[in-house]
């Protein structure tokens, strides 16, 4: 969430990456905050996709285009190459069909932007080392009620990209909203990637 009126740090980063006037699809767009911000500051056009009723309502209240649907069913309603960016923020780790959604993202869009909590973050490692499933600001759930089913580390995601011939264009790993350059897979709590198909 946005503490004290500040945009979520991964949102701020995405805002810098997205070119003005581009077409954006935000998957699992939540209350539409990112799209609203991109519409206002970068004049983007596009849609959010959401499954949750309350989030749909919040999007409509913000004047954000939102399509109610389940990402697990794919993006069949969207045509090939119809977006400049397809964003999946803090949702990858909740997906059953992780590879499927990555493929779909680059089918309908030129570039993908993904953010996810880094399971390799040292505080998470400490909790696992202490014999417990980690909980943190980025993963604020108990093991039994978490929507996160496919947690991964920065290194895991990079391996997956390599396997699927995805070219990572940019990678920023954040802790407390600040970029971490030293040992990011250990010291970073939230990963933000921009990628495209290797051409």
């Amino acid at each position: 969430m946005t503490g004290n009126g500040m945009l979520r740090p991964d949102y701020a980063l995405i805002g810098q990456w997205v070119k003005p006037g581009s077409r954006v699809l935000d998957l699992g767009c939540g209350d539409g905050e990112l799209l609203r911000e991109l519409m206002d500051s970068r004049q983007v056009t596009g849609y959010g996709v959401e499954i949750d009723d309350a989030s749909i309502l919040a999007c409509v209240k913000k004047g954000v285009n939102v399509i109610q649907g389940d990402l697990e069913q794919g993006l069949s309603g969207f045509e090939n190459d119809s977006f400049d960016y397809v964003i999946l923020s803090r949702t990858l780790q909740t997906m059953r069909h992780t590879e499927g959604i990555l493929k779909e993202m680059l089918r309908v869009g030129r570039q993908g932007i993904v953010t996810f909590p880094n399971f390799g973050y040292w505080k998470n490692r400490v909790q696992v080392w202490q014999g417990r499933m980690p909980r943190s600001a980025d993963m604020p759930y108990q093991w039994y009620d978490t929507p996160n089913i496919h947690l991964c580390t920065v290194r895991d995601f990079e391996d997956l990209c390599a396997q699927h011939d995805l070219n990572i264009l940019e990678r920023v790993v954040l802790t407390h909203g600040r970029p971490v350059t030293l040992l990011p897979n250990l010291l970073g709590s939230l990963a933000v990637f921009r990628f495209e198909h290797r051409r």
Binding site: K61, N65, I67, F78, E79, S82
Partner: protein, 376 residues
């Protein structure tokens, strides 16, 4: 005109607009003159930017909200949606409800006198299409001094009209709300409609559609409505409302009413047959069957919707099997492929197609939020 009475009741009075300019229908038939009955709610603002048109469904009419009198038992058919402070807020919008051409609630239709004969048109009333209705509604808008709609709104067959508005008069509407609708009927839907029509057409009292002055095909109309009613509900809601409950507690081994669901359907059928005109039912179901803006277009619905400029809100209901969510998604996908502004909400609701007429906090919340964002 509308005005607030000292009581809570919101009394509205239908108006009639007369048109003398001939209307060439899609069938080629011509109506030389006709009347449309309508009601309005709220006030048209000085800039004339706040008009909202409500398109009615199969058996609907112009009476969308409020009451006609202190004695009227039930308010207009969408009173839970339209009114002061309601999702379509008449404090802000100037709402117009209109009875379609061919209707039986005052607008020119099969029961109106045919100027050529002086007798009711009956079967001689030409078949009208959704396109024809939209044309007639546009003329009503001009008559009311409305050049542009803030929104055109409709559910079911009304949603088809709203969709057609966005294609036929793209510059006339800023927003288009398509609720529990489909871009065209499926074969199954047409089949249901034809069974309903056959019930009417084969009624011994149908008399080729010229039954005014006689008993009329009440039995046929009753059957048609019973069939329709089944398709507007979901199996779940029928199960939970009636189940297999018996009126007298045990089987009677006869064909009188035994199950509660039979009693309910027969009651609904009777009530409808008393208040609705069979010729209008025939005509409205045909309009449903004919509607297909993508017909003859290679690009399908996306091509059909290419002219549309409006911002869209599309809403479907999970248990609506007559116009299922998949049908609404077809509309959404066609709009997406044209890069139009569109939001889509799929309402989890147990009541089937009729859910669009019911109060649901999420459903009404989405419509309210959408309407509130409309800039006037």
């Amino acid at each position: 005109m509308t005005h607030h009475e000292p009581t809570h009741r919101w009394i509205v009075t239908p108006q009639t607009a007369r048109f003398t300019e001939p209307l060439v229908l899609q069938s080629g038939a011509v109506l030389n003159g006709y009347e449309l009955v309508y009601e309005t709610y709220g006030r048209l603002n000085a800039d004339r930017t706040n008009a909202v048109l409500i398109c009615h469904a199969l058996s609907g009419n112009h009476h969308v909200a409020g009451y006609h009198s202190e004695q009227e038992k039930r308010p207009g058919w969408w009173d839970n949606m339209i009114g002061p402070g309601k999702p379509i807020d008449t404090e802000r919008f100037f709402v117009i409800g209109v009875n379609n051409l061919g209707g039986c609630h005052g607008s020119t239709g099969p029961s109106s006198p045919n100027p050529d004969t002086g007798k009711p048109y009956g079967a001689d009333f030409p078949l009208v299409t959704v396109e024809d209705w939209v044309t007639a509604q546009a003329r009503l808008a001009e008559h009311l001094g409305v050049e542009r709609f803030a929104a055109v709104v409709g559910g079911s067959l009304g949603g088809m009209q709203a969709l057609q508005w966005s294609i036929q008069y793209p510059d006339w509407l800023d927003h288009c709300l398509v609720i529990a609708a489909a871009p065209k009927l499926t074969a199954q839907n047409i089949a249901f409609n034809d069974v309903a029509r056959q019930a009417i057409l084969t009624d011994p009292d149908f008399n080729g559609g010229h039954y005014y002055g006689g008993p009329g095909p009440k039995r046929g109309l009753r059957l048609a409505r019973m069939l329709g009613h089944i398709t507007y509900l979901s199996d779940d809601v029928m199960g939970s409302k009636f189940g297999r409950a018996l009126r007298s507690g045990s089987y009677q081994f006869g064909f009188d009413v035994e199950f509660e669901i039979e009693s309910y359907l027969r009651y609904q059928g009777d009530k409808f047959a008393e208040s609705f005109d069979a010729n209008t039912y025939l005509l409205m179901t045909k309009a449903l069957d004919y509607f297909d803006p993508a017909q003859d277009l290679e690009g399908g619905l996306a091509e059909a919707l290419r002219p549309a400029q409006a911002n869209f809100l599309v809403i479907s209901f999970t248990t609506d099997w007559r116009f299922s969510p998949q049908r609404s998604r077809e509309i959404v996908e066609a709009l997406l492929s044209n890069k139009r502004n569109v939001s889509y909400a799929e309402i989890t609701h147990g009541h089937g197609h009729d859910a669009f007429l019911m109060v649901d906090p999420y459903y009404h919340g989405v419509v309210r939020a959408y309407m509130e964002k409309i800039k006037l």
